[in-house]
């Protein structure tokens, strides 16, 4: 059982996917709260988008400590790691999601802070429904990739 770089990648991916599953669940709960009137859109979008003041504090590295950007960055990090580990099949499976993230970020409404959700339009039923569906799809995808990485890790550990 050799502990290769690929095995290390899979192990790390496994742990980080757990974090991504948590984000997806948070996403679903946030939109459900909006839909059932529990919270109002301004507060909810402030939770989901990074707020400008907090970004200003960390001057150089604009790390958004809220929901959206961490998820995208983590996923990008996976892809880079798998690229380095030459795990092509896994990389190909993650590429569509990466492309989707890029598209989603590029077509966000005009905002001064890096964020995706605009409180004035989020209550439109079609946008709300889209975000909810997105949450569920991502949850499903991350769950499946969790098990896939588990299998991949064991396979790589055993086969080398």
């Amino acid at each position: 059982m050799a502990f290769t770089f690929a095995a290390f990648c899979y192990m790390l991916a496994l742990l980080l996917t757990a974090a991504l599953i948590f984000f997806a669940i948070w996403h679903i709960i946030a939109f459900d709260e909006l839909k059932t009137d529990y919270k109002n859109p301004i507060d909810q979008c402030n939770t989901l988008n990074p707020t400008v003041e907090k970004v200003k504090k960390i001057k150089r590295i604009k790390i958004a400590i809220k929901l959206v950007l961490p998820e995208y960055l983590i996923h990008f990090f996976f892809c880079v790691m798998f690229f380095c580990a030459a795990e092509w099949l896994t990389l190909c499976l993650n590429l569509p999601l990466l492309a989707y993230h890029v598209w989603r970020y590029m077509s966000r409404p005009v905002m001064s802070c890096p964020g995706l959700y605009d409180p004035t339009t989020i209550m439109n039923a079609d946008i709300l429904a889209f975000c909810q569906k997105e949450g569920w799809c991502k949850l499903a995808f991350y769950l499946l990739s969790f098990f896939y990485y588990l299998y991949g890790m064991i396979y790589v550990l055993v086969s080398s």
């Binding site: 005009v110 004035t120 039923a125």
Partner: protein, 829 residues
């Protein structure tokens, strides 16, 4: 006692109550046979006399079934009353579904302004139904299922004007406001009373108890007839709200006037010395001006003259004094008047060219933070300093481009965010743009759009060179200052179980799924919503919609204005088409197109509008028409639909190929979303009248004044003639076109000039001459003006007049006939 039907309510009243006057063929919605199973045993057996039983509410949720075909297992028409039998055997199509070949019939416009269609309801329900000017639906017969609605290919939505100035408004002061326990609907004329003590909500069908106080009717001093109370007799009613409806004590009226230093000439001519602002003894007022620094005015009682305090740190705004910047209007009247007199002279010699609007707005927001209120912003140029600075994005060479128009969405979200903050603190921002250059209305307009304010735009405003605009501004400002206002308002729109609202249009912020936050509500604002049918409306014969507006009046009273609309549910496509309201559909499509041009692109929006016409006419052709004839066929109720779509495509908001300034275009888009339907329709399709031969034939008698009613003409140059004069009513502007060889009688007696050449170019008011023709003309124009709430001026601008000639071809757009041919081609594909 009447037998209970399967639905748990009393049986519907028998057919004998069907009014004879209703056009027999107008409404024949075939009903589900199954629904009548419980019906037939009851009413036909009851003699009419037994109906007047105590405890039976006459206004129950009933609908007389008018079966087209025999219901299964029920008695035949012989058991129903003779009138009903006659109706069911008629097979002629109702007037609304009469087939019109648009390519052949050229004169489609009715001679009078088009009335809204009446929903096909029982007469006593329709009599108390909500006024269509207040609450209107695009389809007056609601489809039963979402798939049926999709087949009809028409948008389903409601257009509201909830705070309209009404001449008769019943106001109820009651200790208990009766509402449904589960859905919190206010009691309305369309609920059903099961017996004297219980009522069934018409939106969620839950049975509630009638409270003890409600059994007593104060109007008729009788007990035991809850259905006679004014809340159950009027579809539009206002309640005085008790303290449970207040989050905080009702706020006083607070007004803040906020202007850039160059607007002073404008503001000075506009603001009258005696400000008649609506309010009571607690009304507060304040002033802020700015250029590259911000100036506050200390108006404390006891000062001999107003004191100006200048804050030059625009990055970190603070308020120089904690109070006395917003002062009580009644106590400090003289100081306020002094300030208004001296403001224009203070900045006459200013050389400043920079404008720090963003910081000034933040400062004003801080000032209004504790109480909420209304901020009126007068701006004359692009803000170019500090936060919220904007760039000039318009390229003058691209104004006439036939391709897409850029820069329709905001450049920065600073104004949107500020508007949301204002909305949270019940501050509304109204924007007056008095500018001749590009002001980026796309970004600046956001401040009003999300804080329930209004945008006023006066292009090419100059207090010396453009007196027409000056007068327009003055009149608009007068209306703006004196009109009714509601503070810290919220509006909730509820609909029957099975329907839901998914998109909102108008100036407000959507706080939750059906709650609109309106820091200010004013009588000139209209709203539109789009609905969808979530569950099939199988068991229902009617659906109801209720709009409830909770606001604080300017006198500090908390009130709730409730409007309830009731519409029938139908099962067939032909009935849906028969009940289509073409003006409401056009208004809603205009709102949807404005949204689409901001999110997608302008050409997308234009295509979507054309497709709306194509799809609905194609659907009509496929599903409803039994005989296929050549030509472009439309039902009579939709015959004006292609005309209105063409008018929208040629509107300033959506046209391409003709030079349109970006701000003009954006203002037209704002107006399409903000104005109530009746003004939007005039903006889209102006009314054209011939005025040189007005006669008293068919005139209306209003207030002892005879108002002539000329025929409405089509908007085509072929209707104009050199020997006549025409008046075009476009909502906010009226154009008077005088033909070259116009009758001299008209020229002398109405315009007061001797010949055509002497007609002044910028005449903006008709001279008051003592001739009969002049009186008639002025009476007519005055009557048209009275129906508007904002100022209408008359001008003689030929190019704009010609642009409104929608039916003709221009270099870049199709004529009406060509548009119809294009539609026909698309439909036959």
């Amino acid at each position: 006692r009447p037998a209970q039907s399967a639905l748990g309510g009393p049986l519907p009243l028998p057919p004998a109550r069907v009014p004879e006057r209703r056009t027999p063929a107008r409404c024949h919605a075939p009903r589900h046979p199954g629904r009548h199973a419980a019906l037939h045993s009851g009413p036909s057996a009851l003699p009419a006399g037994e109906l007047r039983q105590p405890g039976v509410n006459r206004l129950t949720q009933t609908l007389v079934p008018v079966p087209l075909s025999q219901p299964l297992g029920g008695p035949g028409p012989a058991q129903l009353s003779p009138s009903l039998a006659a109706m069911s055997l008629q097979s002629s199509t109702p007037e609304a579904l009469r087939v019109v070949n648009l390519l052949q019939e050229r004169n489609l416009l009715p001679p009078i302004p088009i009335p809204p269609p009446t929903p096909c309801l029982q007469q006593d329900l329709q009599k108390i139904n909500c006024n269509p000017e207040v609450f209107r639906s695009t389809l007056t017969s609601i489809p039963q299922t979402q798939s049926l609605l999709n087949k009809a290919k028409m948008p389903l939505g409601l257009l509201l004007h909830p705070f309209k100035d009404l001449s008769q408004l019943p106001v109820v002061t009651s200790s208990t406001i009766v509402r449904c326990r589960s859905c919190r609907t206010y009691i309305n004329p369309f609920v059903s009373f099961l017996d004297q003590r219980r009522w069934k909500c018409n939106l969620c069908y839950r049975v509630n108890d009638v409270p003890e106080e409600f059994m007593y009717n104060p109007v008729s001093r009788s007990y035991g007839e809850p259905h006679k109370r004014p809340e159950v007799q009027n579809a539009t009613i206002e309640f005085i709200a008790p303290s449970e409806y207040m989050l905080r004590p009702p706020q006083p009226a607070v007004y803040l006037f906020h202007s850039s230093t160059w607007s002073h000439n404008a503001v000075e001519t506009g603001l009258p010395e005696r400000l008649l602002l609506p309010g009571d003894s607690r009304t507060k007022i304040g002033f802020v001006t700015f250029d590259s620094t911000i100036h506050f005015y200390n108006l404390q009682e006891g000062l001999s003259q107003p004191q100006m305090l200048i804050v030059s740190d625009i990055d970190d705004i603070f308020l120089p004094t904690p109070d006395s910047l917003l002062v009580n209007l009644n106590e400090c009247k003289e100081l306020v008047q002094d300030l208004l007199k001296s403001l224009p002279t203070l900045f006459q010699k200013t050389m400043e060219t920079q404008s720090a609007l963003g910081s000034a707005l933040q400062a004003a927001y801080k000032l209004l933070l504790p109480t909420g209120g209304r901020m009126s912003v007068f701006q004359t140029q692009l803000p170019n300093l500090g936060v919220g600075a904007l760039q000039s994005r318009e390229d003058p060479n691209q104004r006439a481009s036939a391709k897409d128009v850029q820069h329709l969405s905001p450049a920065t979200d600073f104004y949107k965010k500020l508007a949301l903050d204002c909305s949270g603190q019940q501050v509304a921002v109204d924007l007056f743009l008095l500018s001749s250059q590009y002001c980026d209305l796309a970004s600046l307009g956001c401040i009003s759009r999300y804080s329930a304010g209004s945008v006023y735009y006066y292009p090419s405003y100059h207090h010396q060179h453009n007196p027409a605009q000056v007068e327009c501004f003055q009149r608009d400002l007068k209306r703006y200052l004196t009109r009714k206002i509601g503070f810290e308002a919220v509006m909730r729109i509820r609909c029957s179980k099975g329907m839901s609202i998914h998109t909102f249009h108008g100036n407000f912020f959507v706080r939750s799924t059906d709650l609109l936050s309106l820091p200010n509500v004013n009588p000139d604002a209209g709203f539109a919503v789009q609905m969808s049918i979530e569950e099939n409306l199988d068991d229902m014969q009617i659906v109801s919609f209720q709009a409830a507006l909770l606001y604080t009046s300017s006198k500090g009273e908390r009130r709730i204005r409730v409007h309830t609309l009731c519409l029938p549910v139908v099962n067939s496509l032909s009935d849906i088409f028969a009940g289509a309201d073409v003006q409401a559909i056009t208004g809603l499509l205009a709102c949807m197109a404005v949204d689409r041009s901001a999110t997608a692109s302008l050409s997308d929006a234009r295509d979507a509008m054309t497709n709306a016409a194509i799809d609905s006419l194609a659907s009509y052709r496929q599903s409803v028409l039994s005989i296929q004839q050549p030509g472009l066929l439309a039902p009579a109720c939709l015959r004006l639909f292609p005309l209105f779509i063409l008018a929208l495509l040629k509107q300033k908001a959506f046209r391409t190929g003709t030079s349109t300034r970006l701000d003009d275009r954006l203002f037209a888009m704002c107006q399409l979303k903000y104005q109530p339907l009746v003004y939007s329709m005039l903006m889209i399709h102006p009314a054209l009248y011939r005025v040189d031969d007005l006669s008293d034939e068919g005139a209306l008698n209003i207030n002892e004044r005879t108002v002539p009613q000329p025929r409405v003409l089509q908007l085509s140059v072929e209707k104009l003639s050199r020997e006549a004069a025409f008046l075009m009513d476009a909502g906010t502007v009226m154009y008077l076109w005088v033909g070259r060889s116009c009758q001299p009688a008209f020229l002398t007696q109405v315009l007061g000039v001797s010949s055509y050449a002497a007609v002044p170019d910028n005449l903006h008011l008709l001279p008051e001459l003592d001739t009969a023709e002049s009186q008639r003309t002025r009476a007519f124009i005055g009557w048209l003006r009275d129906q508007r709430t904002h100022h209408v001026d008359e001008s003689q601008l030929k190019p704009t007049f010609m642009q409104n000639m929608i039916e003709d071809r221009t270099e870049s757009a199709l004529s009406y006939y060509e548009f119809l041919l294009h539609l026909q081609q698309q439909i036959s594909k």
